[in-house]
């Protein structure tokens, strides 16, 4: 219970990242190699003779024993050298740097939408259990969670972009905006804002709406269910009855007692939802041609580019772990009972 144990907990969690990354690297390494095809066949398989293909494989080191390739790759990663893509010879670091910003923008916007819409809806549904609004909200939650992201994305594009013409169908900004915004942080939206370019900011936000809502709806369904269930639980709690007996107003009972206490378990599982958020981001990006890591990841998977896929997946894994750690810390701040 000593207050100084939170830093120790954080260090422990950070150290645990190392074995976890090893497991993920190994899994990705194996899965990619079990999958049919290799980078060479994927790129030029139907155009070159068998000898020429073998030659190319040898040049990439793909003809060596699997174990040797594996150990060599692990060794490189241990030196923080993630290597270069096989298909287009770009350092992994550059891919992350150039595309990470777009993914970050999309993921945060989607998360923000889900929090702003899903959490209040879940709270209302829990407060008014079995009312019409509860039934409607629950139905909405189930549908948004169950519907595939790419399907929702396509429908949204078809309706809002093609039919109504309200939003662009794809990409993060118009070519002119991309050209004009000066690169500083490599997060386009932030760069535009820092440069004071209002038109560019509006243009990017305009492009962001549909992808962010599409991704946000996926999480929204999860959030509604989580908040609703926890709200129902905390409304039944003894301290809620005791507060009513003290004459605390129903509004305050709902907000300070039921809702606040419902947020504790919600925040706990929020960390787990980050994985869903990133998975959703990959699909959303490819649906909307959003120039982020997800789009690149799918390109490289198609190209059987082992190095690229390993690098991007590892990055995703690290992000998930760091964010769930952050969530734990936030939770300790919300709930005075939690001490690690």
């Amino acid at each position: 219970m000593s207050p100084g144990s939170l830093p120790r907990y954080i260090v422990q969690r950070l150290l645990l990242i190392v074995p976890m990354i090893w497991v993920i690297l190994t899994l990705v390494f194996l899965v990619l190699r079990v999958a049919p095809g290799d980078p060479v066949t994927a790129a030029v398989g139907d155009r070159l003779s068998a000898e020429a293909l073998a030659e190319r494989r040898a040049a990439l080191g793909l003809d060596r024993p699997l174990l040797q390739q594996y150990l060599e790759y692990l060794g490189n990663v241990a030196r923080l050298d993630f290597g270069q893509t096989i298909s287009d010879n770009i350092p992994i670091i550059d891919i992350v740097r150039d595309n990470g910003g777009a993914t970050l923008t999309l993921a945060l916007a989607g998360l923000l939408f889900a929090l702003l819409v899903g959490v209040p809806l879940g709270a209302v549904a829990g407060r008014r259990r079995d009312s019409i609004s509860d039934v409607v909200i629950r139905l909405f939650g189930v549908i948004t969670y169950a519907a595939p992201v790419f399907f929702v994305g396509l429908l949204a594009k078809l309706f809002f972009s093609v039919q109504l013409g309200w939003f662009p169908t794809s990409d993060i900004a118009t070519p002119i905006t991309k050209f004009q915004v000066e690169t500083r942080t490599r997060i386009l939206l932030l760069d535009a804002a820092l440069g004071g370019d209002t038109d560019a900011v509006i243009d990017i936000l305009h492009h962001l709406v549909l992808p962010a809502v599409t991704l946000g709806l996926l999480l929204c369904g999860v959030f509604i269910r989580l908040v609703r269930v926890n709200m129902l639980q905390s409304l039944k709690a003894d301290y809620v009855e005791a507060a009513r007996a003290r004459g605390i107003t129903e509004r305050r009972v709902t907000s300070a007692y039921a809702f606040r206490n419902a947020l504790v378990p919600f925040v706990t599982v929020l960390g787990l939802q980050i994985a869903l958020l990133l998975a959703g981001a990959v699909l959303t990006e490819s649906t909307f041609n959003w120039p982020g890591l997800g789009t690149r990841l799918i390109d490289y998977i198609t190209a059987r580019d082992y190095i690229a896929v390993q690098g991007i997946v590892t990055l995703f894994a690290v992000v998930v772990v760091l964010i769930s750690l952050l969530v734990d810390v936030v939770n300790a701040l919300i709930d005075p009972r939690i001490r690690y």
Partner: protein, 341 residues
């Protein structure tokens, strides 16, 4: 004492819950009065409706329950009030202390916030310093050091949390408190402290106290009057000493015989189980378990009879009113094990 001293009075109060099998008559025509500064003990077996009655008085019943009859607080008809007016009585006029103190405080709020919130809800104009002064005063009175003012509930023991609950109620100076088994979850030493606090409370602010308990020792120690409840009805109510010395109702008598003390040589218990409140027995609800049951008890509910200030609902109290031939002792098959289970 004059009638104006009466803080709470109930007349034919009924509370029932809807279930799939039909309404559960948890409280079935209960009448009592409580005066300022008086403590009424409410005793009975588990499931006899005593907690339901306590919650009903504060309108804290779960959804799907109904209440009728007459309930008056300081002369005002509570059941005729709007919901918001009724709820406005909570805290400042009517208070409740619960059985499980460990789960009754908001785990995310400091003790200070609990006090400030309660005081501010009922006296919106009170300034920050005044709030602090008054909370501190109450805390001091219940023996919680001021240094713990900023603590969270989980940093207190069960006994301390129950004292905090009492202090929270006390800070608002209610005229009537329902204490629902306030010491059941606590050890004996803490129990004595809590009872002492409740005692002080009513002498200091003249609060009327309804003390719900299944512990007859507590009633003997802490209550002026006692009401014995069985199957949703008050079967006997009167001065605690008088009732204990001279129980009129067989249920009271059997209940007293079932208490355990150092001189107890064998355990006594009342055979059978409390009745089903969806379809309670005909006549006197206690007749299936009553050692003194007569034929009349199975058919007709006994009248309430007063003797020396104590009211009891038992045919033994009004032998003259029993129809001829119905005073035969009830012959019945022995209560089998299957019935008890």
């Amino acid at each position: 004492m004059s009638a104006s001293d009466v803080v709470v009075s109930a007349e034919g109060l009924r509370i029932w819950y809807g279930t799939e099998r039909g309404p559960v008559r948890a409280v079935d025509g209960v009448s009592f009065e409580l005066r300022a500064g008086e403590t009424l003990g409410l005793v009975g077996e588990s499931g006899c409706g005593k907690s339901t009655l306590g919650r009903g008085l504060l309108d804290l019943l779960p959804e799907g329950s109904k209440m009728d009859g007459s309930l008056r607080y300081q002369g005002h008809d509570v059941l005729a009030m709007s919901t918001s007016r009724r709820h406005a009585l909570r805290g400042s006029d009517l208070a409740m202390i619960f059985q499980e103190p460990l789960t009754r405080l908001n785990p995310l709020m400091r003790i200070r916030e609990h006090f400030e919130e309660a005081l501010r809800t009922h006296e919106p104009g009170v300034g920050k310093d005044e709030l602090r002064r008054r909370s501190m005063e109450v805390l001091r009175r219940i023996g919680i050091p001021p240094t713990r003012y900023e603590s969270y509930p989980h940093e207190f023991s069960g006994g301390m949390r129950q004292r905090l609950m009492i202090a929270l109620a006390l800070a608002l100076r209610p005229a009537f408190i329902v204490a629902d088994e306030p010491t059941t979850a606590l050890d004996v030493l803490v129990e004595a402290q809590i009872l002492e606090m409740l005692h002080d409370l009513r002498s200091e602010i003249d609060t009327a106290l309804l003390l719900i308990t299944h512990n007859l020792g507590i009633v003997a120690e802490a209550c002026d009057r006692v009401a014995v409840m069985y199957a949703g009805e008050i079967v006997e109510i009167g001065d605690a000493r008088d009732v204990f010395r001279n129980p009129r109702h067989p249920y009271t008598r059997e209940l007293l015989r079932s208490t355990i003390s150092l001189s107890t040589t064998g355990l006594h218990y009342i055979p059978g189980a409390p009745p089903d409140l969806v379809e309670p027995p005909s006549g006197c609800h206690f007749h299936p378990r009553c050692p003194d049951a007569m034929t009349v008890c199975t058919t007709t509910a006994p009248p309430v009879v007063e003797s020396a200030g104590t009211l009891a609902a038992c045919w033994l109290q009004s032998p003259g009113a029993i129809p001829a031939g119905a005073e035969e002792p009830l012959r019945r098959r022995e209560i089998s094990d299957a019935d008890e289970a």
